[in-house]
């Protein structure tokens, strides 16, 4: 019986005007997004090649100077434009995308100046995620809002239920057909986009990309199911299709517009963090304390002879200052991460937000990618420091007074650039993606079943006459 219902509903959807318009809209949007992505990706890659070239040339120059120069100079590592950006852009343009480090510390992250045009009003990249979050959620509601109340108005509902068909099967059939129709639309849009990206773009198809595309389609199906459940709920609580439409639109506005847009407000209101000025004041105060308690002569300079006693005093002081600042700033960074993650969890009541977090994990981008690069850079910084210390230990002309800011009291010999360990950003492994995604997946499935259950209860009690 369920199959009959499903078949009827799917055919009904397939021949409907909304299916045709959705299909046209989705294909057009995916094509526009893919064309725009291919074009800007080429420009971004070109720019990144130049930045990376400068970064390496700079490092090479320092290594030719001395190993200490290389160790103490602060470098900025810039993240590469991601090949799967067309699936989920994850707001990478606005997120921190560069990390400042030296062999002694990973200091800070920043949003590279020039990664977004400040005169362009903030906008979403036309990635698959954006189109799906906007359009799929909308059409899923459009396919379901009048599923029950509309049929009641045309009197076919009473007719259907006069046959030996259970209410559960009827509702399930409607739900399944809506999900299948919407997913089919997304699939065609995705295929269009994929063809454009592969034909015009620089990156070919790979197993990883195929996996990401499948993951995206699964997330889109989940999104469609969630909104279809909300649409059915709107349909069964109202007595006529007009009201269920308004209810459905209200759901959509709340989930796609209101909740995601109140994140900044929620973050600042519920999880405040210290201001950057306070943190700077704390650092300055810590420096002041250290300077006051340092032995006299600690600040004396004379770089000619590495073995002058003041160099040891200064090296000790600089090291203490580094550690003090690192302690304060690392704590602040952790507070930022916490604020961001908690806010995300709070906005996860919206299926649209959930979908965006899921596709971010699927595509291995955005915040997850940054956090991985940030953690990996800490590991790399340790390696670089170990490498430098080994070089210094082998140098008999060095007094081995480690100073994180100056090139005076450690080895002054050059080092072959080829021997210096290099940082290579690796794509997120499967485990790195599944872990964070799981939390959102569970919330989404819970939300979906709860809403569907409510719709079912309401439908069982629905007066079909």
């Amino acid at each position: 019986m369920f199959r009959t219902v499903l078949k009827r509903e799917i055919l009904h959807n397939l021949y409907s005007l909304r299916f045709l318009i959705s299909l046209a809209l989705v294909i057009a949007a995916f094509a526009a997004g893919a064309a725009s992505f291919v074009r800007s990706q080429a420009a971004d890659l070109e720019e990144h090649r130049e930045i990376q070239g400068q970064y390496l040339a700079n490092m090479r120059g320092l290594a030719e100077g001395s190993a200490t120069d290389l160790a103490v100079r602060r470098q900025t590592y810039t993240l590469k434009p991601r090949a799967s950006g067309f699936i989920a852009d994850a707001q990478e343009k606005y997120l921190p995308n560069a990390v400042v480090y030296s062999a002694w510390n990973v200091f800070a992250f920043q949003n590279r100046s020039g990664s977004a045009n400040p005169f362009l009003v903030r906008f979403d990249e036309l990635s698959w995620t954006f189109i799906a979050a906007l359009v799929v959620s909308f059409i899923a509601l459009l396919f379901t809002f009048d599923a029950v109340s509309g049929e009641k108005e045309t009197k076919t509902l009473a007719l259907s239920l006069a046959n030996p068909v259970s209410r559960g099967a009827l509702l399930g059939g409607k739900m399944a057909s809506a999900v299948l129709s919407v997913t089919a639309i997304v699939l065609m849009g995705a295929l269009t986009g994929l063809v454009i990206v592969i034909v015009l773009g620089q990156e070919g198809i790979s197993a990883a990309l195929a996996g990401e595309v499948l993951g995206f389609l699964a997330a889109a199906a989940l999104l469609a199911a969630t909104f279809a459940a909300f649409g059915l709920l709107a349909s069964v609580v109202a007595r006529n299709a007009n009201v269920s439409l308004l209810l459905a639109l209200t759901f959509w506005l709340a989930f796609a517009v209101v909740i995601p847009n109140s994140s900044t407000f929620l973050a600042k209101g519920l999880y405040p963090i210290e201001s950057a000025e306070t943190v700077q004041r704390n650092v300055t105060a810590a420096f002041g304390d250290l300077d006051k308690n340092a032995p006299p002569g600690s600040w004396m300079m004379n770089s000619g002879n590495p073995f002058l006693p003041q160099h040891e005093l200064r090296a000790n002081l600089q090291m203490k200052r580094l550690l003090a600042e690192k302690g304060i700033r690392d704590k602040y960074h952790q507070a930022m991460f916490r604020q961001f993650e908690r806010t995300r969890l709070l906005t996860a009541v919206s299926p649209v937000a959930l979908f965006e977090y899921l596709t971010e994990a699927v595509a291995g981008g955005g915040y997850l990618r940054f956090r991985k690069a940030w953690d990996d850079l800490h590991v790399y910084q340790g390696q670089l420091l170990g490498f430098f210390k080994a070089l210094d230990a082998a140098d008999k002309d060095s007094p081995h007074w480690f100073n994180p800011n100056e090139n005076v009291s450690t080895t002054r010999k050059p080092v072959a650039f080829e021997r210096v360990p290099q940082f290579e950003e690796r794509p997120l492994a499967l485990a790195d993606r599944v872990g964070p995604a799981l939390k959102y997946l569970i919330i989404n499935v819970f939300l979906l079943s709860a809403v569907y259950f409510l719709a079912f209860i309401a439908f069982v009690r629905y007066d079909v006459r």
């Binding site: 809209l25 400040p118 903030r122």
Partner: protein, 535 residues
Amino acid sequence: MIATIVRKEFLTNLVSPRFAIGFVLCLVLIPFSILINVSSYRERTAQYRVDRDAAEKAATEVRVYSKLRPEIVLPPEPLSVFGRGLSGQVGNRVRIWLGDKPFLAAGKTAAGDNPFLASFFSVDFADIAAIVFSLLALIFSYDAFSREREDGTLKLQMSNSLSRSTALAGKVLGILTTLLPVLVFSFLLSGLLILFSRDIAFSAGDWGRIGLLFAASLVYLAVFVFIGLLVSARSRSSVTSLVVCLFVWVLLVFVVPAVSANFAESFVGAASRDNLDRVLRDLDAKRETEIRAAFKAQGIPAGWSCWWCSSGDDGAMETYGNDREEFENFRRRAAVSEPIRIDHAEKRWAAQKAYLDSLARQARAAERFSFASPTGIFRAVAAAVCRTDRASHERHMDRTRQYREAFVRWLRGKDIFSSFPWVTPADPSTFRTEDELIERRTAGEFKTAREFEDWASKQTDARTRWLKLSTVDLPGDGPNDFPFLDVSDMPRFEVRPGSLFGGLGPSAFGLGLLLAAAVLLFYLGFIAFIRYDVR
């Protein structure tokens, strides 16, 4: 006759559930957006006060002119509560340098202290209005003809002695009279929230501008009502017109603005910031070479040694306790280097301006593309009305550049680069020779510098040299012996309050475009209805 139709439409709409739900939607969403933006305004005002006080303190607590670098802090725009425009992305702080013209403003963006929050979006009144008013307009107009045809009432109406134009006019007026109270109510509610908020105060001109925003919203609403009527008059069933209207809504309100920004970004390239930075670094290197060459030509030693020095960016140098010759060298160096620095600001600016122009070109292209949708036009008009558009920001930046010219003129008028107060507040009549200084500092132990150097070169620990010279503290050896500079005659940057109609030229164009669209759509709807088969 027409009054009867309008009354009937109005009453039917009023008792319909869509009116109740639409009204509640406005009742929830409008205060939500206003409260969020008032809170963000409060936060920015607090930050502005902190920044302004810090800037003022920094400008008054200097002892030498070379360290005087006033910082301009622009206050947040109260109207940004209604239309945020660019105010959350461009900074509000501009420091005045000699070697650089004001380029991009610094300062916290909407994300505040946590850069990750920049990845979250936030909406303002103009966005919510653009979304909700268009939706309401379509919801009330999509079934104007198609539903009545289905119910058979349209046929009934037309069998009376009623012209189609009167019927159409009645429909339009009926829908507008239903929506007008919602619009008025939304604006009144927002106005009340502003009035009762202690954190924000509007001037009379600001309220006038809110009036303009209201007029723009009305035209915007009318455009969507006419779209709904046109669709309704072109479709046979109300379900079809509903589906078409909703897709048109998503397309115009969400998809077109996003596509236009993306296409502008991809196909109207902006200059590379990295490239600009490289050009500027090269220019700076050239400037330093030029300055060194000028030193050499005039026989001024480029290196220096000083008793107490504090140097900084942009040629800042504060020094105390030197001998007469060293002070003279500092003075001569500044007299040569600072005019070169100011000249080079022009060269830097040529490159910076080309970069800014390319950014502006891209933003303009995005705006033009978005004019394909009434929502794009409405957002642009709202930002201009709220003084948060690009043009307003550029006006502010132009004024900071004019201020820099005034500041440099003021410095030049004092002939300050070639005078001692540029580097030290000490009176030139108190300057001494090196020998005198050594003798006094070592309490007469050494009579001449040569004598002291002979002794110092034999010491193994370099610190003893410094300890010996600190035997006697001389007045004027450090900054604490001098008062702060009196800069009461320095030109001040004045924050000019915006006028009622200032900078509205482009938005008048946008409004005209909306009106033209409204007239065209109305005409098309009229034709479609004349040809409509009412059976």
